[in-house]
Symmetry: C2
Subunit: 414 residues, 2 copies
């Protein structure tokens, strides 16, 4: 097991003993003081090879257990999390001027989003800490995955979502048995409230960024992309960005593989933000690599609810990691997201939620508008389109045709 | 490749050359004359062993290609179909008095239902036949899977669904680019209309039962359950039943494995029908194993839309196969289905659509009401709960609590 050797503050660099601290650096505070999980890489380098993971026989992200912060593996849930397909679609690749395009479909996780990778870890950490309640603020997916992964444990789940969360995500929460608070405010209001409640009632907090173990789950998408491409990952990886934790996880995953000598080339990781919700993209543009990451929160709006975040909690980590990685950020309009959603479904059969389709919209923008060029790229589809039917309906003009059960009526419409 | 050796009529037993016939026995007609796909089992028995499938390295149902009717494998789509998880849940097993319970979660297929197993085959057969259009009548899942698997091909898809199909399923169809006809009538009306249109316009018909290759895809769930239990499948397998094709597939899959010497014990397969939609259960009760399967169509109603079928098209095969298998049928109320849906989600984290939860309701009914007893059992969750949020909401009384973003408001509700 990759029992963490230390937790290190992303801003001041101070290291903490994992048994001494749950969330963030006391000196730098919850926003700038998010923690990185460090392992004994020298020991891991001796123990691991490219074949280690397949030899586990596990068809889930638990094949990477040696690189994950699990101390008591008996708390691993049965649900199959991760090891999602990385599809090759040659026709779509060619249209984008790529030799190869991979579509990593994380909508096929147990609760149908990338967030399952993080929640499955947090449910273990909560039990290792002998907590009885886990809590989370969420635009929807993080919460439903937390509720789903808690379901077969004795943990109770308290969820805070903004009142505009899509109906399907709220229904998922209720059916998994979570106590759901619909907060009359933004995701950011829900976030602050969850933190206060965790503090007041001793609940274990899975909200984005504040919990250092989330990024560990989220890095597994990178580990899988590397292994699924036979340790020759694509030149670029595109992913939608809200709080900045998923992209931080992808950067950390590729970086760790390089440190361990398992890949020779680190893909550039590109974050895609919606035009109305792009504070991390703005911070990245203003960041010089030396001084503090500049933080300017905004009132965000995009129909891609999963990445509608005006006060991104993992902004320091996301900007720092992507800068070190050599990647970047692009912004896309909601219309571009919907077009990508439709084209992805109609050209590949992968039905993404808007935040998942944003990855394709961003890749397109990079290639067509910003004249970037890659031999190969991957897009991470972070959630299933079934989670947000209303947006999907906006993506297609076609309507179902109502007819009586008569052949003449069919003929009339052909 | 398991190129089919012959197609045999389930009623008269006459055999046909697969290149000579597309759908049903001309003598017995479309209802009683559904065809069985036969292979050269002697040859297969020599070629196959228990390790053959894992050696393919394929983490999808294509690991069973030698047992599937695919002539041109170049038409296999990239989407990962099948090889869905078979979870063990010891606590739920114990509550049911079982030593072991498996939950086969087919909601994790590309379009989130068991039907992907059949559609992926039909899309190949349509291309092998050089057809340009595929069609299907469906309560929803078969259609969305056909549209999803057609998406990355040049096939066009024409879909007939009853107007009461859940919104998410219709949205899926449109986003995949299918032409959708909402038929003002029942599923049975939509079915007849699709058959007429296929006939009139030369479309390849994927509607249930009429196409002999559907059951071949559907049998892969049985093959997987056997392999996932190390060739020692559970005593009983429970599955929701609408048209009768999925249960026919499961029976055929286990039967073929036994014929090939790959399993020693054939599980008993139990079909679960909703009380308001149980014509196959009724036919099974009246069937004596010798005379014709008695067919009495009804006007069906159940909220489990995927198994709401009053005129089941694969009734002859389903009754004949289950009779030969030694299994049976049980009926459950809609309330029992909703209770099972809730309990499954809250005790395992698997969120099923009502027809998927019916399998658990049926297992419960068999054990608690009919005093059946098994050491081990499996339930097949045939579709993802995200497909039918409205029904899921009926399954839980709990509501989300609307609050202002203030800690006092949280306290008030605890």
């Amino acid at each position: 097991m990759g029992q963490p050797a230390a937790l290190r503050c992303i801003s001041c660099g101070k290291e903490y003993d994992p048994s001494q601290i749950d969330y963030t650096c006391p000196t730098c505070g919850p926003r700038r003081g998010t923690l990185e999980v460090l392992y004994d890489y020298d020991r891991l380098k001796k123990q691991l090879s490219r074949t280690t993971f397949a030899e586990s026989g596990l068809e889930s992200m638990w094949r990477y257990l040696p690189l994950l912060p699990v101390v008591q593996p008996e708390f691993i849930q049965p649900l199959r999390v991760g090891w999602t397909p990385a599809y090759r679609f040659p026709v779509l690749a060619e249209r984008l001027g790529l030799k190869e395009l991979f579509v990593k479909d994380d909508g096929q996780n147990p609760t149908a989003s990338y967030k399952d990778r993080a929640s499955s870890i947090v449910v273990i950490k909560a039990q290792e800490r002998e907590r009885e309640v886990v809590t989370c603020a969420s635009t929807g997916n993080a919460a439903s995955s937390l509720a789903g992964f808690s379901a077969s444990t004795s943990l109770r789940t308290m969820i805070f979502v903004p009142k505009r969360a899509p109906e399907a995500k709220v229904a998922q929460l209720l059916i998994y048995g979570a106590q759901v608070f619909l907060v009359d405010g933004s995701y950011d209001d829900a976030y602050d409230l969850a933190a206060q409640a965790a503090d007041a009632f001793g609940w274990y907090n899975r909200s984005a960024a504040v919990n250092p173990y989330l990024v560990e789950g989220k890095k597994t998408g990178a580990l899988e992309l590397a292994e699924q491409t036979n340790w020759n990952p694509p030149d670029a990886v595109f992913v939608g960005v809200g709080d900045g934790s998923v992209i931080s996880g992808l950067c950390k995953g590729f970086d760790e593989l390089a440190r361990l000598g398992l890949i020779d080339k680190v893909p550039r990781v590109y974050g895609v933000q919606a035009e109305g919700s792009s504070p991390i993209e703005a911070a990245f543009r203003a960041y010089d690599g030396a001084s503090d990451v500049p933080i300017h929160d905004i009132a965000a709006y995009t129909l891609a609810d999963s990445i509608c975040v005006g006060k991104p909690r993992d902004i320091v980590k996301a900007v720092t990691y992507v800068h070190a990685n050599g990647g970047g950020f692009v912004t896309v309009s909601d219309e571009e997201i919907l077009t990508a959603l439709r084209d992805l479904a109609q050209q590949t059969g992968v039905f993404a939620e808007p935040a998942g389709a944003a990855a394709l919209a961003g890749l397109r923008k990079a290639v067509e508008k910003h004249n970037m060029s890659f031999d190969s790229a991957a897009i991470v589809v972070s959630g299933n389109g079934l989670k947000d039917i209303a947006s999907a309906r906006k993506a297609v003009r076609a309507q179902a045709v109502s007819i009586r059960p008569l052949l003449e009526e069919v003929k009339r419409y052909l």
